[in-house]
């Protein structure tokens, strides 16, 4: 178990360093430096500017500086946004994204698990068919379609919420709803599959045979095992929520991490784009690790499997 977690932590570190190296190489390969603008700047001034941000050193030194800076959470200043540190921008954007993302995850679980469980408990019934069709539709509806539609209906027609922006305390609702509904479809499907498979297993028949009530069978015996596929999916779901958040933040004009990242990439703001990418990697790695730990706790077989 400990070895399993240790290997996962190590793998996470490899991922983050890899992300840093690749983003570094990509951004340095890009044509045009951060100081190339409309005006021609004299050679010696440009060189001075570059020296100030350490861009005059050889590439390996720059790379090492970057990895070192990120490891110690000392984000370098960005030449594109003087006076406003990269760390500051991330610190401002992250709470917005995190609030929307967490709310979306909760909505996805709150809608998806009951819908999937209901479908699994009454196979072939009307509830089953409705929930399955709804899940298929949800999986196929991309956030870039659902987002504008939700903004149109609840924001512009019904005027329940702001259609865009981050002004009122309830501005997280519509973006979270967009992301949450899409992921609830995946979760409903996984819950249904997991629960149906589990309910067909022998220990469930044993539980029923010894006279356990249907509620106890489902919640005490089946649910823990049936949740594993859902739990498995949460790692990729975190990555997906992130992808989706880039779109929803653009639809709803939220000042979140995704907007900053796209903006930084377009403006060739090396430092910010790289820091955001690395931050995303850190988030995904942390989330995957969390999922691994919960999984290892729920399913003791996993720890041993990995050691073999």
């Amino acid at each position: 178990m400990l070895r399993f977690l240790l290997s996962r932590v190590l793998q996470g570190v490899v991922v983050i360093v890899g992300v840093l190296c690749i983003t570094f190489l990509l951004l340095r390969m890009a044509p045009g430096g951060p100081f190339q603008g409309e005006r021609d700047v004299p050679e010696h001034i440009r060189r001075q500017q570059e020296a100030m941000y350490g861009l005059d050193k050889p590439l390996p030194v720059q790379l090492w500086n970057h990895i070192f800076n990120f490891a110690t959470f000392q984000f370098p200043p960005s030449p594109k946004t003087p006076g406003r540190g990269v760390g500051e921008i991330i610190a401002q954007g992250f709470p917005v994204s995190a609030q929307v993302g967490l709310a979306a995850l909760l909505i996805a679980l709150a809608v998806g698990i009951p819908a999937g469980a209901l479908a699994a408990l009454r196979p072939g019934s009307l509830e089953d068919r409705v929930s399955t069709v709804a899940a298929t539709l949800g999986i196929c509806t991309p956030s870039l379609v659902l987002g504008p539609v939700i903004a149109l209906v609840f924001g512009l027609k019904l005027r329940w919420f702001n259609a865009s922006g981050w002004y009122d305390a309830d501005d997280w609702v519509l973006p979270a709803l967009t992301l949450g509904l899409i992921y609830s479809a995946y979760i409903a499907r996984l819950t249904r599959g997991g629960l149906r498979e589990t309910l067909a297993l022998e220990f469930i028949r044993t539980a029923r045979a010894k006279g356990a009530s249907e509620l106890a069978v489902v919640f005490r015996h089946a649910f823990k095992l049936a949740c594993l596929p859902v739990l498995n999916f949460l790692g990729p779901a975190a990555a997906g929520l992130m992808t989706g958040s880039i779109v929803t933040e653009s639809v709803f004009q939220l000042p979140g991490l995704g907007q900053h990242f796209v903006g930084a990439a377009v403006n060739r703001n090396y430092e910010l784009a790289m820091a955001t990418a690395a931050f995303y990697a850190l988030l995904i790695v942390a989330f995957n690790l969390l999922v691994d730990i919960i999984q290892a706790l729920l399913n003791p077989r996993i720890g041993f499997k990995e050691d073999a």
Partner: protein, 286 residues
């Protein structure tokens, strides 16, 4: 299985099984309809995708313009069909890139020794944890927003599952008697690879390719939506949805048209992928 079906090839069997599912047939018909519409439709349209009629700016759907026009007076239906060509093309090409990389990687990993295999698959595990959307965005931003780069960049990040599937299949095949018999009979690496392995991994590859296409199209639409993919005035469904979302408060039909086309196509592709999986599943073939 009845005696009659024993004379059918596996492909014919799979086709029969696919046709037995009403959902798959409907999805296939819808997809075929969409493709014919997008490929052939623009030839029959009286308008060009960028033709402007400044008298008829932003008119709602009517007899002359079935899906309305945009604020620049361009016929929306024609633009949707042209956009569909690009979206579908990106979907197919990026999937081809992903399949090429994935199959190659999976074959090599599966056929190499244990240590190389473990190393290669560990690399795939690590790559799974990468934030890919950020990489695609960086790739597109750095190398320019050209059509070729968009699908190469998307294909370059979507091959992982394919590699896993192919490698798993190769590992299973490697142990089968007929492959060992071929090796014992003196068949070389190349012959085993092309004659015995490739034809047998095609089933799973087709399944995963069909499930990859909608994901790839979604990624293209996302990029275009963010302004990082296909550039206006060229249209893809992502570009049109983005334009529609920008003006949906005043001209809702600009959002509805492209969204409907895109979502229906994704739905058809997903349902077809599920149907293909049921029809081609190696387990049900036995």
């Amino acid at each position: 299985m009845s005696a009659a079906s024993e004379h059918l090839t596996p492909t014919q069997l799979a086709w029969r099984r696919l046709c037995r599912s009403r959902v798959s047939v409907a999805a296939l018909l819808l997809l075929g309809f969409m493709m014919v519409l997008c490929v052939a439709g623009p030839w029959f349209s009286p308008y060009g995708p960028n033709d402007q009629d400044l008298e008829l700016r932003a008119v709602p759907p009517n007899a002359a313009h079935w899906l309305g026009t945009d604020p620049l007076g361009r016929d929306l239906a024609t633009r949707i069909l042209h956009g569909g060509r690009i979206s579908l093309l990106v979907g197919v090409l990026a999937t081809a890139v992903a399949a090429l990389i994935g199959v190659g990687y999976g074959l090599v990993a599966g056929l190499s020794g244990r240590r190389t295999d473990a190393l290669m698959m560990r690399a795939v595990d690590v790559l799974y944890a990468f934030p890919f959307i950020t990489f695609v965005i960086l790739l597109v931003v750095i190398f320019g927003r050209q059509f070729v780069l968009i699908f190469v960049a998307i294909g370059a990040v979507e091959w992982l599952t394919m590699a896993r599937v192919v490698r798993g299949q190769v590992l299973t095949l490697k142990k089968l008697e007929y492959v060992q018999a071929a090796r014992a009979a003196g068949a070389g690496f190349g012959r085993i690879l092309f004659r015995h392995m490739l034809p047998n991994v095609m089933g799973p590859v087709i399944i995963y390719a069909s499930l990859t296409v909608p994901g790839v199209m979604l990624l293209e639409a996302t990029l275009s939506f963010l302004g990082l993919g296909i550039q206006p005035p060229d249209a893809s469904w992502g570009v049109l949805i983005s334009e529609g979302a920008a003006s949906m408060a005043v001209y809702p039909w600009m959002l509805v048209g492209p969204s409907a086309f895109f979502t229906l196509t994704l739905l058809a592709l997903n349902l077809l992928g599920d149907g293909l999986r049921d029809a081609l599943d190696p387990k049900s073939m036995l």
